[in-house]
C-alpha cells in the first residue's frame, strides 16, 4: 500500500487530525512510557502528518504504549496521539503472522498473582 493510502487509513481508523498539533510536546512530557519509546507520542503525530508511516509501523514503540490515555487527556489541542499509536499498531498486527504476543509466550510471563485483566489486555493490544 502506498503511503498516502496508509495515512488515510490511519486517519480514518483513529479519527485524529494531526494537523491540529502545535508541537508543544505536552503529550510526550506526560507519557509514562516515554523513556522506553523510540518514537514518542508527539513524533507519532508529526510523522503521520508527514506520511512517514513505515518507521512507525516497524517500531517497538507500538508495544510500549500503556493505553493510559494521559496524552489524550492532556493535549491542549485535542489531537489524541494514542489513537494514532493504536491505529498503527493494529495495522502492524493485522498482517499475517505479525502478532507481537502469542498464547505460547504467555506461560513464561505469569506469576501466581497476576490478574486475568493483565493477560486479556496484553492480548488485546499485542495480537489478532
Amino acid at each position: 500500500m502506498n503511503n498516502q493510502n496508509l495515512k488515510e487509513e490511519i486517519l480514518r481508523m483513529s479519527g485524529v487530525h494531526p494537523e491540529k498539533c502545535m508541537r508543544c510536546g505536552k503529550c510526550s512530557g506526560t507519557c509514562p512510557a516515554y523513556s522506553e519509546m523510540e518514537y514518542h507520542p508527539h513524533q507519532f503525530v508529526s510523522m503521520v502528518d508527514n506520511g512517514e508511516i513505515e518507521p512507525l509501523l516497524n517500531s517497538e514503540s507500538l508495544y510500549k504504549c500503556l493505553s493510559c490515555f494521559a496524552c489524550i487527556e492532556r493535549c491542549p489541542r485535542g489531537v489524541e496521539p494514542a489513537k494514532l499509536v493504536e491505529a498503527i499498531r493494529l495495522i502492524a498486527i493485522r498482517r499475517q503472522g505479525a502478532n507481537h504476543m502469542t498464547a505460547n509466550d504467555v506461560p513464561a510471563l505469569l506469576d501466581a498473582d497476576i490478574p486475568q485483566q493483565a493477560i486479556v489486555s496484553a492480548f488485546r493490544k499485542y495480537s489478532k
Binding site: 500503556l66 494521559a70 497476576i114 485483566q117 488485546r124 493490544k125
Partner: protein, 263 residues
C-alpha cells in the same frame, strides 16, 4: 433498588474480594446487584480504532441487557468500566460503528447507547448518596489515613468518562470521608501504574508503581485503596509496604458486613 451488574473476568478469579465485598456492601445499602446473564469478558482495554467491531460486542451485549431491563449498569473493576463506558459512547456518537454492530447482532430493536453506565463509586455517590452511607456506617474507620489511587481508567478520557475532574478528582476522597477515615491527597494518584506492561517490561511497571507508592507514603498514607485489580497487583508486586486494598473491602468493613470469604 435493583441494578444490572457486570463483574468481569478478574472479579471471578484473582479479584474475588473486590466482587464479594461489592455484593455484601450493596446488600447492606439496599441495592440488589443483578448479574448480567452470560456476560463475557470486556477485553481489558478499549480499542480506540473505529473499525474494531468484534472486540466491542461483549460490552454492547451487557449494555443492551441493562437497557432492556431499564436498569443502570454497574461495574466495579476500573478496566471493565472504562471499556463499557467508552463502547457505549461510541454507540451513541459513531453512527457507522453503531450500524455495523447492530447489523451483526441482528436484534429486533437496535441499540444506540441508551444504557446508563455507572462505576460502583458513582453508584455510591449518585444513586445511594455518601450521606446515606455515612448514616449506615457502624464501624467508622476513624483516624485512618488513606490514599485513594485512581490510576488512569476511572477518569480518562474525561470527555467520555465524565466521572469527576480528571486532574483533581474528589470522589474517592469523599468516599473515604463517608466511611469515617481521613483522605490523603498526593500528586501521583491519577498517574499510570504500568498496567499490562507488567508482563513484557516489568521494570517499567516497577518504576511507575514505586513512584506512586512513595508519593502516597510521603504524604502520610497508611493505606492505599483502588478499584483496579491490575493497579493493586502492580503496587503490591513493586514493593508497597503499606496495605493496598479494594475500596469495597473497606466499605464492607465500615458497614459492619465484612466476614471472611473463601478465596
Amino acid at each position: 433498588m435493583k441494578v444490572s451488574y457486570f463483574p468481569g473476568c478478574t472479579l471471578k478469579n484473582k479479584a474475588k474480594d473486590l466482587d464479594a465485598y461489592a455484593y455484601k456492601s450493596a446488600a447492606a445499602l439496599g441495592v440488589t446487584l443483578e448479574e448480567i446473564e452470560n456476560w463475557q469478558c470486556c477485553g481489558g482495554v478499549f480499542t480506540t480504532a473505529r473499525d474494531e467491531v468484534a472486540t466491542k460486542l461483549s460490552s454492547v451485549r451487557a449494555l443492551k441487557e441493562a437497557a432492556d431491563k431499564d436498569q443502570p449498569l454497574i461495574t466495579v473493576c476500573s478496566a471493565c468500566h472504562n471499556v463499557i463506558k467508552q463502547t457505549n459512547h461510541a454507540m451513541q456518537t459513531d453512527k457507522e460503528f453503531a450500524n455495523k454492530v447492530n447489523r451483526y447482532m441482528a436484534c429486533e430493536k437496535s441499540y444506540a447507547g441508551e444504557a446508563q453506565v455507572y462505576h460502583y463509586l458513582e453508584m455510591l455517590r449518585d444513586l445511594v448518596g455518601f450521606d446515606t452511607i455515612k448514616a449506615k456506617v457502624t464501624n467508622a474507620l476513624k483516624g485512618k489515613k488513606i490514599a485513594a489511587y485512581y490510576g488512569c481508567l476511572l477518569l480518562r478520557p474525561n470527555r467520555v468518562m465524565q466521572m469527576d475532574d480528571p486532574e483533581n478528582p474528589t470522589i474517592m476522597e469523599d468516599f473515604i470521608k463517608a466511611i469515617g477515615a481521613t483522605p490523603v491527597v498526593y500528586a501521583k494518584r491519577n498517574e499510570c501504574c504500568g498496567a499490562y506492561i507488567a508482563m513484557e517490561s516489568p521494570a517499567l511497571a516497577e518504576k511507575s508503581s514505586n513512584a506512586i507508592v512513595q508519593n502516597a507514603k510521603a504524604a502520610g498514607a497508611e493505606m492505599i485503596i483502588t478499584a483496579c485489580p491490575l493497579c493493586r497487583y502492580n503496587l503490591i508486586k513493586n514493593g508497597a509496604d503499606i496495605p493496598v486494598v479494594y475500596f469495597t473491602e473497606l466499605l464492607a468493613e465500615a458497614l459492619g458486613v465484612k466476614e471472611d470469604t473463601n478465596e
